[in-house]
Each structure stands twice: as structure tokens, then as C-alpha cells.
């Protein structure tokens, strides 16, 4: 008998994504929906989408969601979790969102040890607004605001937000992964599962930073964008478990 071994996960609506071809957001959405289904938490998970290319995430996830203003995902998730402590609450944020305008909210939520999960999608640019430099843009990387490449003296160096958050006392689990290959996609799914389990056990703040292709603003084919993550992005942002205090 023939069996279905791969199909659309239950908590992902049958709606076509608006994302560009090869966009990492779409892969990350699906992985999250798979994890939510596998953990059996679909009826009690609340997501907080960002301003950014993932602004319409609520059109795709078949779970409860409430949009945050730009950068305020961790603050909004804090409020939701405190009012409804039995729910699983995550914010979903881009690198511009979390590492520029939302830096303060994010650091304090981590430091307070809020029992929430943050999904931090690092595509090393402001995707939605047309590819401006983000704090995470690599040195030498072209963006519309760093023509000729990001220059350390003029523009500053890329920010290691996850490492910064790891030194806060309330952060329990922080890992950096990527979705540019089968192997890395599988590891990302494991990391998201772990982060949700940290929250389900009431341990405190968890965050998964995911290196994600933005072929459109990087002006590369999707396949080349994945190669570029291996060859360049990971030199600045190495994949690793940055903090694990789950015991």
C-alpha cells in the first residue's frame, strides 16, 4: 500500500505564500507548523508576527496570532504569555526588526527570563523595504544603503545579537541554525522543537536565530543564495548552540 510520507502540515493553511522564489521565511514557517503539530500544541499556541516580509504570517499559520509593531515582538509576546500562561507563545522577527528597532525590548525580555520563544530570522538585510543595511549585514555586503559594500569604519561591524542575549541571566536556550540545506533544515527543526520544549517546561527565555536566504535583495539565484550562506554568512555567524542552561 502506498503511503503519504510528506504533505502540508496541519497548521499551515492551503494558501500560496507571497514570498519570493527560494525565500527562507517559507521554509521556516513550514518547519514551525510541523513542530507545532508534532508537539500537539496547535490549539494552544499563539504567534506574534513582525513588520517585515513575514508581516502576513497570520494568513499562513492556522493558529491564533497577533501582530506586533516593528521590533516589539518580545514585548507583545511577554504580555500575551503573562495573561495566558498556559499557552505557548512565540514571536517571529526579522534581523532588522529584532536587532535594530527592537533591540531594547528583546534584551529586556531575555534578561527578565520571560517564558517565551523567539524565532529570529537573519537574512542580513531589511528585506521588505528593499534591501537596506541591517545591523546584521556582513562587512563588504552590498545593500541599497551600503553601495560598494558595508565598511567597518563608516557603517560599523555586524552585531552578534544572539551572543549578546546569551549573557543575559534570563536566557535559557539560544541556538543559531540555517535553512540553506537539507541537513541544516533538519537541525533547525530540532532546534525549534527544543526551544518550544524549554517553554513548555517553564524554563524561561529561548531563541533560535536562523540564517535565511533572501535571494531577491542579495541579487542571487536561490541556489546561489544558499551557497553564499555556507561560504560567507556562516563566517560571520557560525552555527552553534550559543547557550544551553536546560540542565
Amino acid at each position: 500500500m502506498e503511503k503519504v510520507v510528506f504533505k502540508r502540515p496541519k497548521y499551515m493553511k492551503k494558501a500560496p505564500f507571497h514570498y519570493c522564489p527560494g525565500c527562507g521565511h517559507s521554509i521556516i514557517h513550514r518547519l514551525m507548523a510541523e513542530v507545532i503539530e508534532e508537539l500537539g500544541i496547535g490549539e494552544k499556541t499563539i504567534g506574534v508576527p513582525p513588520a517585515g516580509c513575514a508581516v502576513l504570517a497570520y494568513d499562513y499559520f492556522d493558529i491564533d496570532m497577533g501582530e506586533a509593531p516593528h521590533g516589539r515582538g518580545a514585548a507583545l509576546a511577554t504580555g500575551v504569555k503573562r495573561i495566558l500562561p498556559d499557552r505557548i507563545v512565540f514571536s517571529y522577527q526579522g534581523d532588522g526588526d529584532i536587532a535594530a528597532i527592537g533591540t531594547a525590548e528583546t534584551i529586556h525580555a531575555a534578561n527578565r527570563g520571560e517564558n517565551i520563544t523567539v524565532i529570529f530570522v537573519n537574512n542580513s538585510c531589511y528585506g521588505m523595504t528593499g534591501g537596506q543595511m541591517a545591523p546584521t549585514t556582513l562587512l563588504g555586503q552590498n545593500s541599497t544603503t551600503t553601495p560598494g559594500g558595508r565598511d567597518k569604519d563608516r557603517d560599523g561591524a555586524p552585531i552578534d545579537l544572539s551572543e549578546m542575549l546569551a549573557i543575559t541571566r534570563g536566557a535559557v536556550y539560544i541556538e543559531r541554525t540555517a535553512v540553506n540545506s537539507i541537513k541544516n533544515i533538519r537541525k533547525t527543526k530540532k532546534a525549534i522543537t527544543k526551544a518550544f520544549k524549554v517553554q513548555m517546561a517553564g524554563l524561561g527565555f529561548s531563541l533560535i536565530e536562523i540564517l535565511s536566504p533572501c535571494p531577491t535583495n542579495w541579487k542571487m539565484s536561490p541556489v546561489d543564495a544558499c551557497k553564499w550562506i555556507d561560504e560567507d554568512v556562516m563566517q560571520t555567524f557560525p552555527l552553534k548552540v550559543i547557550k544551553d542552561e536546560t540542565g
Partner: protein
């Protein structure tokens, strides 16, 4: 007794596909090609080259193409 090796098969939804080439780049058996005709959105969708009742099918149903597909355009069957 006949030993039957398990075979796989995929179905690509050409309306959802955006022709990103990811599935083609990972299929170990090179069973996916890009169509010469575009879909409604103007993308050239991926096409699976094996038919269901073909003998000696190479697809193993490994699902690598589906795992990397950003647009959830691929369903995988095995058996």
C-alpha cells in the same frame, strides 16, 4: 517469494511552485526538471519525470525535494 523494493513518487503542484530549482538541486536521482511552459504566476514550475505506472522507477520517496521546497508544492508517496 518475491522481494519488492519500495518505490517512491512525488506530486508537484505547479500552481504553487515558483521554479526556485531547490528540489532539482537536491534530488539524488535527478528526477526533476523545469517545465518549458510557465504557470499562471509566470514562474516555470518544476516537473517530476517519472510516471506512476512506469517500471524500474528510480524515485525512492526520500522526500529531500519536499523538505527543501519553500512553497510546500511537493507531496511524497512511498510504498
Amino acid at each position: 517469494m518475491t522481494t519488492k523494493t519500495k518505490k517512491g513518487r512525488i506530486v508537484i503542484d505547479s500552481k504553487l511552485c515558483k521554479g526556485c530549482y531547490f528540489c532539482m538541486s537536491v534530488c539524488p536521482n535527478e528526477l526533476i526538471v523545469i517545465s518549458t511552459e510557465s504557470n499562471e504566476k509566470g514562474y516555470y514550475p518544476a516537473r517530476f519525470t517519472e510516471t506512476k505506472d512506469e517500471k524500474d522507477r528510480k524515485c525512492t520517496g526520500c522526500a529531500m525535494c519536499a523538505v527543501i521546497c519553500p512553497d510546500i508544492a511537493i507531496e511524497v508517496y512511498r510504498g
